[in-house]
Symmetry: C2
Subunit: 344 residues, 2 copies
Amino acid sequence: MLTERQKLILWAVINDYIVSAEPVGSRTVSKKKGIDFSAATVRNVMADLEEMGYLEQPHTSAGRIPSQKGYRFYVDYLLKPYMWSKQDLIALHDFHVTRMDHVEQAIKQTNSILSQLTNYMTFILGPKITESKLKHLQIVPLYDRSAVSILVTDTGHVYQQRVKVPEGVSLSEIERWANFLNTRLNGCPISKLKPILVKKLAEELQRYVEHIEKLTNLLDQILRAQPDERLYTSGTTRILEQPEFQDVEKMKALLDLLEENEVIIQLLEPATEGVQVRIGYENHLEAVRDCSIISASYMFNGQPVGTIGVLGPIRMDYSRVIGIIDLLAKDFSKRLDTLFDCGE
Amino acid sequence: MLTERQKLILWAVINDYIVSAEPVGSRTVSKKKGIDFSAATVRNVMADLEEMGYLEQPHTSAGRIPSQKGYRFYVDYLLKPYMWSKQDLIALHDFHVTRMDHVEQAIKQTNSILSQLTNYMTFILGPKITESKLKHLQIVPLYDRSAVSILVTDTGHVYQQRVKVPEGVSLSEIERWANFLNTRLNGCPISKLKPILVKKLAEELQRYVEHIEKLTNLLDQILRAQPDERLYTSGTTRILEQPEFQDVEKMKALLDLLEENEVIIQLLEPATEGVQVRIGYENHLEAVRDCSIISASYMFNGQPVGTIGVLGPIRMDYSRVIGIIDLLAKDFSKRLDTLFDCGE
DNA sequence: GTTAGCACTCATAATGAACGAGTGCTAAAA
DNA sequence: TTTTAGCACTCGTTCATTATGAGTGCTAAC
């Protein structure tokens, strides 16, 4: 464990580096208020911290920059709660008075304010289809055996999917089947549609349709996840203003990543409760080794249903971003709940 | 008008610059096959061409680069039809055997092959909703007066929109109304829905519903264009490999542009028949002054319904890209037609 | 009209000196 | 024993200088 003085200096170095993006020297640190040692003392401590792996030196005669281990320690033990600035509070106030009539809008708005406040790239992973509830199912025949399935959830999301109508099943039978689902399974969580249909309602369903097995296949087709439609991003170009991405190569790697929605979804997916911070290598993905990801889950009906996250350089203002994410995730959960409490 | 020799040399300069991206000197040109003058003669001709505004000199002792006027002349008068290379033909063959079951897929595939072949950023503007025909309309109530309207067209596109149900109109009335539209206006072009409903069917409709005016308002809500969902892009990062976008500022300007879908739609929209080439300033938009846009319309049922385009640096391989766009636009039209001929 | 020759221009790369921020070490002070 | 001041040393950055060479424009000869 580090001594109090070591912690103090590590903290000072990181705080300085976060704003300056330049290696910080001993003199700079010793001049900070709250630090009453001479530059020489600071130098000694910094040398110790470097030996322990919390700091790094780009070259012999440069100041120190935090290592990833340093950031990790900083996030875990040194972080102080963020003090909201006046501008933040104003922006948040404006945000709170904007009316949001539905989920999509709420997602986009929240995303936008998040990237405005942080100046980084931000993501919101929409509610998983399987978590939400059936409101309406419709099969629209197009031609031959081609049709479009349309599934509306209680959150107002519309999921569409091309499907092939199974051979031998008539349109009117499909209609009866969809009607049955709509009346008997309205409000049923999407994830439980199939089990309930197969186990509990099979008998009853027989009275309406013939080809139960084929129709169950159809249901599978309909429910086949469309994960890439769940991701919302904002502020993609904002991150390019960060000095660490002035390098065209890095920039390109990051933009390439963006085209691969599914990778990002995976990156965000395993979010547990509370705010998560993943620093550099902890992301296990080449393209974001120089990035940190801060994310938090948001809730609907007490259940975590999606993730909200920020991607920025490792040199990130963790205190601030964590504060903002935490607040917005909670706020978004609340919005979701109130958005549907009145309607259910 | 230019003399044959002037044309020959302008042609040679542009061709060289297109691949090298460096100012081309008189010696380089004189050494090309097909050019049998000495460097000195070439120099004289180049001086003339510069005076006429077809070439430019970045600085006194550099070679010449084509001006925008030069490119324009090149495109209008000097272009030779592109000779397909073996790799191109292979890629195209692979493309032609890929099965495409529906429009969305065809768009994405065509987009992808286009950006692969050209190495630039490519766009496809999906069929305008107003050009396609009504297949199915459904209103799904959510809560209070909130509902989702779902409109399926003959091209299999699903357009959804949040709508407010007018006060005083019951759900069952809306259902009757939707049913009426579905049965009486099936196959009607979207753009003609409202006029026909108001002019020809008003009387008949009265038998089914009460609040005709409010329901017509609802129709307006539903049809309110969602233009930003029509644009498909591909190869956004490919263009960053072009040397002219190594500059971070330009890059950012271009990426910012990308976030503004509607601007791009406007940029592509006024496409007439055949291939269009817009060079630099001809685009009337700050961010793409250093870019050229080559676009062509594609057809459905003999009508131009959308645009397919390429955005690249002014120094573009016009011959090649025009060849590719022309081919793919025609190909895409054909695919669209066969995709629906069998089904109607 | 065309070409060879030549002086001239100017961007680019390479070189190296001056600078300065920052370090590590040592010896003195607390 | 801990802290601090002093000092030599390192190394990236900046700036001016120079050399290089590609390319031009002009002139005179072919």
